[in-house]
């Protein structure tokens, strides 16, 4: 245990901190793979249903709010950037700046959820509910119904992930501010960042599928 002295965070069953961080990152990546497959089932359903109802899907995609959707894309991409910058600042031992970046990311995450909520509300007003409740007059028919069921399932699941990410980021920002995460040891921030970027990646695909492919 040569480096044990330098690392209070080192668990006894690891040889050194580098190995332990690597293990943590690998674990996170494996977990992300698991998450990706979670979404992939829905992507597969989307592909199959789109193959079955191409016209209805195009029509329905034209019905979602492109402005809001694009705004959300910008918001999430930017928040991802802020989280990355937060990590860079921590590594450069500038916790104050880091906490600021993370707080910005948190705000953007909340903004994303708010926009999503607005969009849902808009749909509800138009009678577009998921599943049995669906009663849109402008977009009748089985295909559109399925499109919106998928829309709610996928964006809903994604929004839950965003919510989880926001909570995670708040906790991380707080720990950074409190000086618990330092240039030497910042594995939680690294992992939290990975998770947040992954949520971003999912949105990068949801955006074209539900808004652009009209």
């Amino acid at each position: 245990m040569d480096s044990a002295a330098t690392a209070p965070h080192l668990a006894s069953h690891f040889e050194d901190l580098a190995k332990q961080t690597h293990a943590a990152r690998l674990g996170m990546w494996v977990f992300i793979g698991s998450e990706a497959l979670l979404f992939s089932a829905l992507f597969a359903l989307y592909a199959a249903y789109r193959a079955a109802y191409p016209a209805a899907f195009r029509a329905a995609a034209g019905h979602t709010d492109l402005t809001l959707g694009s705004l959300m894309t910008g918001v999430l991409l930017t928040s991802s950037y802020l989280v990355a910058m937060g990590l860079a600042r921590v590594r450069a031992s500038r916790p104050r700046g880091a906490a600021g970046f993370l707080a910005g990311a948190v705000l953007l995450g909340i903004a994303f959820l708010a926009l999503k909520g607005m969009e849902y509300a808009e749909h509800f007003r138009a009678g577009i509910y998921p599943g049995v409740g669906y009663r849109s007059a402008t977009l009748p028919g089985a295909g559109a119904n399925i499109f919106f069921t998928l829309y709610y399932a996928m964006t809903g699941l994604h929004a839950l992930h965003v919510l989880g990410g926001v909570v995670l980021l708040i906790w991380l920002a707080w720990r950074v501010r409190a000086g618990r995460l330092t240039a030497v040891y910042h594995t939680p921030l690294e992992l939290g960042g990975l998770y947040w970027h992954f949520v971003d990646v999912i949105w990068v695909f949801l955006w074209p599928l539900f808004y652009l492919l009209r």
């Binding site: 990546w29 597969a44 592909a47 109802y53 016209a55 990646v201 990068v204 955006w207 074209p208």
Partner: protein, 102 residues
């Protein structure tokens, strides 16, 4: 050991590239691309995802197990989507739910 080769400057460039790509795909969605619509949009999305993974998530810095793991899950994702969609696409006309043909 994890050498933080990727820093603030790369992050900035990545972010700009992402926004540019987003704007591009948004613009393209208004053009009459016909059948190329979906492939182009998805290609751009894949590029953006790759940028995020490589730089924000430091995949470009990783060696060994992690890139392999990522490769595997991307592959499986593709398999699931392809073979499921292939079923619907290649069912006889009779089996397909009716409604909106292209």
């Amino acid at each position: 050991m994890h050498a933080p080769r990727i820093g603030a400057r790369t992050y900035l460039r990545t972010w700009i590239a992402l926004l540019v790509l987003a704007a591009a795909t948004l613009g393209l969605s208004f053009l009459p691309l016909g059948a190329f619509h979906a492939p182009v949009a998805l290609l751009i999305a894949a590029t953006k995802a790759a940028l995020i993974a490589l730089f924000f998530m430091h995949l470009a810095d990783e060696r060994g197990s992690i890139p392999i793991a990522v490769g595997i899950w991307v592959l499986l994702l593709a398999v699931l989507v392809t073979l499921t969609a292939a079923d619907v696409l290649t069912r006889g006309e009779m089996l397909r739910p009716p409604a909106s043909g292209p």
